[in-house]
C-alpha cells in the first residue's frame, strides 16, 4: 500500500471496512491493517500495522518519540487519543473485532478482556480511595463473585505481584506506596479480571533499576502463568532484550522490522534497527556510541518511499521512490527494507572500544573535600570527596535519592546549603554562584537534565548562546554572533537556528543549544546532570559522541551525573557510586564494572538492563 495519506480521509464511521478472515483469531490478539489518522487533516499517525500477539507471549513494541508506538498500544483497546481516530483495520480479541463493536460492548471488553497499564500509574490510581477498595471496585464493576470472594481475589492478586495482601496494606492510599509498589498495584489490578490481552505502556519509566527489574520479572511471570498475550511498549531496546519473546521496531508510524528477540538482536535486518542498537551503551564493554543523524519525522512530515531513507546510511535513489513492502527474511522475521539482503554483516560488538586506561599523570583541576549537603536541617550528602583531572570524565552513579544531583549542584554553585571545601585550579570556591568571582563562574558550567526547562522560551538561540560571552567579556556584538555560529557548528546545529526560539527545536536540539551555551563560557569543567535521560537513545548516542569529542579536543573535564551504569562505561574514566548520600565505591570505570566490591554496586550492575 502506498504511503500517501489520501485514502485515510476520516469519515463518521469509526470502524474499518469488513475484512474477510478478521474473525476467529481465537485467543491472543490480532491487529490487521490498522490505520490511525489525525481528525482534522486526515494525516496518518500510524498506518499499515499488522501484528499478532499469541497467548503467553510478550511482544516488545520499540520506537523513539513520535514513532506512534503508544498509538498502536491504545488502539488494541479501540481507543485513540483526542485529535486522532482509528480510521481503518481490525483488532480481533477473543473472537470479536473491537473496532466493530459499539461503545458499550467495547467498554465491557476493556479491563476484562484487554487491560492497560499506563506509564504513570500514580496518575491512574485514584488518590482518594484506598488500594483495597479500588481493587474490589474493579471486580464489582465486572459483577464477579460475592463480596468475600472479591476481597479474597484482591488479596491473591497482590500476593501475585509480591505485595502483602493484609488489612494494613489494603487500607493504604496510593500516596503511601513507593513508586515500584504503585506500579505493582497497577499490574495486579490489570491482571485481576483475568484479561486475555495486556498492553503495557512504558510501565517502568522513572523507576530505579532495581525496582524496574522486579516489575519486569513480575510482568514476565504473570503473563506466563495466566497465558496472557502482552504488548510491551517502550523506547528502550535494552529493557525488551531481557523480557520480550518477539520485538517489533517502529519508525515513523510503521513497523520497520519485527521478529523473534534473538533474531532482532543477533541479525537486525533494517538499517534503523542497527542504528538504534549502535546507539545503545553496553555494560560489558565501552563503546563509541553513534547517533542517527536528523530526527524522527512527525505525522505529515514523513518522506515518500522508505520513511527512513533520508537518515539511512545505505539509502539509494530507489529508496526515495519505492515504499518497501514487508519481506520475510527469517523464521517469523519480517523487515521493510529494499536493500536488506545487501547490507554488510553486522555484529553487536560493532563500536566496542578499549576502556580508558588509568593514566599515571593526572593534572587535577577540581578538588572537593568533605562535602556535606543539607536540605534545611536534614543532611542529604555525607563526606563526598572528588578529584577531577584535566580532560577526565568522572561519573556520579546512583539511584534516585542517592544525592548525586545534589552533590553536582553544590559543586556548580546552584545550592548554598553545604559545608566542606571545593577547590578549582588550586583556590577555594565560595558556596553559591553569586559569591564566586566571574572568573570562577566562567570555569564551571552546569548543564541541566531537562532541556525543555533550562532554556528561556522567550529568547532566541542567538541571545541564549551569546549571553555568557557578553557576561564574561569574551566577545560581544558581531564577534559574539560569529562565535555562536562556531559553537552551534561544534554541537552539529546549523547557523539558521540562531533566529529561532526554542519551541522550534526538538529535545535533542535543545540540549545541544544548552551545551553550546555552556561552551560559550569557555569552561574548564562541565557539570552534566542526567543530560541524556530525557532524550531518545539515538539522540543520547550523538550527545555522548559530542561530549567525548569536546573532552579530547578542548581538554574539558566533566562531572557526569547519571543513573545509567551502561552509559558510564562508554563515557566516563572514573566513577563514584553513591547510595543514600554516601560514596560507597569509587575507582576507574573498568575496575569498578569488572570487579565491583560493594554489594550495592553489584546489585546495580545485575539489575541494569543491557544488551550485553
Amino acid at each position: 500500500m502506498p504511503a500517501t495519506a489520501a485514502e485515510g480521509a476520516p469519515s463518521d464511521d469509526q470502524h474499518g471496512p469488513d475484512r474477510p478472515g478478521s474473525h476467529g483469531a481465537g485467543t491472543g490478539a490480532r491487529v490487521t491493517d490498522l490505520r490511525v489518522a489525525l481528525t482534522g487533516s486526515g494525516i496518518d499517525v500510524v498506518d499499515d500495522i499488522d501484528l499478532v500477539l499469541e497467548p503467553g507471549e510478550i511482544v516488545g513494541l520499540v520506537g523513539e518519540s513520535g514513532s506512534g508506538k503508544t498509538t498502536v498500544g491504545t488502539a488494541l483497546l479501540a481507543y485513540s487519543r483526542a485529535g486522532a481516530r482509528i480510521t481503518q483495520g481490525a483488532v480481533d480479541i477473543d473472537g470479536h473485532d473491537l473496532l466493530r463493536l459499539d461503545l458499550g460492548a467495547v467498554r465491557a471488553m476493556r479491563g476484562r478482556r484487554v487491560a492497560y497499564v499506563p506509564q504513570d500509574p500514580g496518575a491512574a490510581l485514584n488518590p482518594a480511595i484506598r488500594i483495597g477498595r479500588q481493587m474490589v471496585e474493579l471486580l464489582e464493576l465486572a459483577k464477579e463473585g460475592s463480596a468475600a470472594d472479591r476481597l479474597a481475589r484482591a488479596r491473591a492478586g497482590l500476593a501475585e505481584v509480591g505485595l502483602p495482601g493484609d488489612e494494613e496494606f489494603l487500607a493504604r492510599y496510593p500516596h503511601q506506596l513507593s513508586g515500584g509498589q504503585v506500579q505493582r498495584v497497577a499490574l495486579a489490578m490489570a491482571f485481576l479480571p483475568r484479561p486475555k490481552v495486556l498492553v503495557l505502556d512504558e510501565p517502568t519509566t522513572g523507576l530505579d533499576v532495581t525496582t524496574q527489574n522486579l516489575v519486569l520479572r513480575t510482568v514476565k511471570d504473570l503473563c506466563a502463568a495466566h497465558d496472557v498475550a502482552a504488548l510491551y511498549v517502550t523506547h528502550d531496546l535494552a529493557v525488551v532484550a531481557n523480557l520480550a519473546d518477539r520485538v517489533a521496531v517502529m519508525y515513523a508510524g510503521r513497523i520497520a522490522e519485527i521478529g523473534p528477540r534473538e533474531e532482532i538482536f543477533a541479525r537486525p535486518a533494517h538499517p534503523y534497527t542497527r542504528a538504534l542498537l549502535d546507539a545503545i551503551p553496553h555494560l560489558s564493554s565501552a563503546r563509541a556510541l553513534a547517533g542517527i543523524p536528523g530526527s524522527t519525522p512527525g505525522p505529515g512530515r514523513r518522506p515518500q518511499g522508505c520513511r527512513f531513507h533520508d537518515r539511512c546510511a545505505y539509502a539509494t535513489d530507489e529508496c526515495a521512490r519505492v515504499d518497501p513492502p514487508p519481506e520475510t527474511v527469517g523464521p517469523a522475521h519480517v523487515v521493510r527494507c529494499l536493500h536488506h539482503a545487501e547490507l554488510p554483516p553486522w555484529s553487536i560488538d560493532t563500536g566496542d572500544i578499549a576502556d580508558t586506561a588509568p593514566s599515571a599523570q593526572r593534572d587535577v583541576v577540581l578538588r572537593v573535600e568533605h562535602l556535606d549537603v543539607f536540605y534545611g536541617r536534614t543532611q542529604v550528602v555525607f563526606d563526598v570527596n572528588v578529584d577531577l583531572a584535566r580532560a577526565e570524565v568522572l561519573a556520579f552513579v546512583g539511584e534516585s535519592g542517592s544525592g548525586k544531583t545534589t552533590t553536582a549542584r553544590a559543586i556548580g554553585g546552584l545550592s548554598r546549603q553545604w559545608t566542606g571545601r571545593v577547590e578549582l585550579g588550586g583556590h577555594e570556591l565560595a558556596r553559591g554562584a553569586r559569591g564566586r568571582s566571574a572568573a570562577d563562574r566562567k570555569r564551571i558550567q552546569y548543564i541541566f537534565q531537562n532541556p525543555y526547562l533550562s532554556l528561556n522560551p522567550r529568547l532566541t538561540i542567538e541571545q541564549i548562546v551569546t549571553r555568557p560571552m557578553e557576561l564574561f567579556g569574551i566577545a560581544k556584538g558581531k564577534a559574539a554572533t560569529d562565535r555562536a555560529v562556531e559553537l552551534l557548528d561544534a554541537v552539529a546545529l546549523g547557523p539558521t537556528v540562531l533566529t529561532y526560539r526554542t519551541n522550534r527545536l526538538s529535545g535533542g536540539e535543545r540540549q545541544r543549544v544548552a551545551i553550546a551555551r555552556a561552551l560559550a563560557a569557555e569552561p574548564d569543567v562541565l557539570v552534566c546532570d542526567e543530560i541524556t535521560s530525557a532524550l531518545d537513545v539515538s539522540v543520547q548516542g550523538s550527545i555522548v559522541a559530542l561530549l567525548d569529542r569536546l573532552k579530547r579536543e578542548r581538554g574539558i573535564s566533566m562531572l557526569f551525573v547519571t543513573h545509567n551504569l551502561a552509559l558510564v562505561r562508554s563515557i566516563a574514566d572514573r566513577v563514584q557510586v553513591l547510595q543514600r548520600g554516601r560514596v560507597v565505591e569509587q575507582g576507574f570505570v573498568v575496575e569498578v564494572m569488572e570487579n565491583p566490591q560493594e554489594d550495592y554496586t553489584k546489585t546495580l550492575l545485575a539489575n541494569t538492563p543491557t544488551l550485553r
Binding site: 553569586r434 566571574a438 541541566f448 531537562n450 532554556l455 528561556n456 551555551r517
Partner: protein
C-alpha cells in the same frame, strides 16, 4: 506580528478590542462633533429637546456624554498602568526573593487588601478639598497594586523555579536582569489579561468617585458625575442617567472581553 495571530483568531478578543476602541474613539473625538458645548445651556432642565434631552441645568445630554469620557478614560488608563507596574514589581520581587521578604510583602499586601478599594480612595479624597486629577490616578492605581501583586506573584512562582532562571543565576546575572530578562517576559499573557480586568475596575471606580461627587472638575462633564447630577429626575428624563450608564457599561464589557480573550489564548499556549 505572528505572535498576535492566535489572538486575532479569538472571537472574544476581537469583539472586545473593537468595542473598547470604538468607545475610546468616541470619548476622544466626541467633543469635536458634539452639537453643543458641554456647559452650554440649551433650554430648561429635564426637557426632552434634542436627541437625548437636557440635564438638571438644561445642558444637552448628548453633548455632555460625548465630552465626559475623555477624562474618565484617561484617568482609568493611567491608574491601571500605575497599578500594574507597582503590583507586578511587588509580586515578582516577592516571588523571586522568597523567604521573609516574600512573607513581609505579602502580609502587608493582605492588610491593604482587607480594605474595600473605594473606601481607601474616599478616605484620602475627603481630606483634600479640591483633588487634582492625578490624585485620583494615584489613589485608584495604589488601590489596584495589592490585587495585581497577588496575581503577579502567583504567576512568577511558576517561573522562578525553572531551570533557565537557575542557569542565569549560575552565570552570575544580576538579580534585576534575571527578573527583567528571564522571568517577566514569560509572564506577559496572564499579566495582559489582568491588565484588561484592572482597566474594567478602574473605570468603575473612577466613575464611582465621580458619582460620589469627587470629580476632578465639578462643572465639567463626567460620566460618573452625570449619573449623580441627574438621578433625581430618573423617571422624568431617564436619558440623562441611562446614556452615561450605557457607555460605561459597554466599555467595561469591551475591556472585559479583551481580558478574557487574552486569558483564553494564553491558556491554549498562545505564548
Amino acid at each position: 506580528m505572528t505572535a498576535l495571530l492566535p489572538y486575532l483568531r479569538s472571537r472574544r478578543f476581537v469583539v472586545g478590542l473593537v468595542v473598547t476602541l470604538a468607545v475610546a474613539l468616541l470619548a476622544v473625538t466626541g467633543p469635536s462633533f458634539a452639537p453643543h458645548g458641554q456647559n452650554d445651556i440649551v433650554g430648561r432642565p429635564f426637557t426632552t429637546d434634542g436627541a437625548f434631552g437636557t440635564d438638571y441645568l438644561g445642558q444637552d445630554v448628548l453633548s455632555r456624554v460625548l465630552a465626559g469620557g475623555r477624562s474618565i478614560l484617561l484617568v482609568s488608563l493611567l491608574a491601571t498602568i500605575l497599578g500594574m507596574v507597582l503590583g507586578v514589581l511587588i509580586g515578582v520581587v516577592a516571588a523571586y526573593a522568597g523567604g521573609w521578604i516574600d512573607e513581609a510583602l505579602m502580609r502587608l499586601n493582605d492588610v491593604v487588601l482587607a480594605f474595600p478599594q473605594i473606601l481607601l480612595a474616599l478616605l484620602v479624597l475627603t481630606a483634600i478639598s479640591e483633588p487634582a486629577w492625578w490624585v485620583i490616578v494615584l489613589l485608584v492605581g495604589f488601590s489596584h497594586a495589592p490585587r495585581v501583586a497577588r496575581v503577579a506573584r502567583g504567576v512568577a512562582l511558576g517561573i522562578v523555579p525553572r531551570d533557565f532562571v537557575t542557569a542565569a543565576e549560575a552565570l552570575g546575572e544580576s538579580r534585576a536582569r534575571v527578573l527583567l530578562a528571564e522571568v517577566l517576559p514569560n509572564m506577559t499573557a496572564p499579566l495582559l489579561a489582568e491588565a484588561g480586568l484592572r482597566l474594567t475596575y478602574s473605570i468603575g471606580m473612577v466613575a464611582g468617585i465621580g458619582f460620589l461627587g469627587f470629580a476632578t472638575n465639578p462643572g465639567a462633564a463626567d460620566w460618573g458625575q452625570m449619573i449623580n447630577e441627574n438621578r433625581l429626575a430618573l423617571l422624568v428624563q431617564p436619558w440623562a442617567v441611562v446614556l452615561p450608564v450605557l457607555v460605561i457599561g459597554v466599555f467595561t464589557i469591551g475591556t472585559n472581553l479583551l481580558a478574557d480573550g487574552v486569558a483564553q489564548v494564553a491558556g491554549k499556549g498562545g505564548q
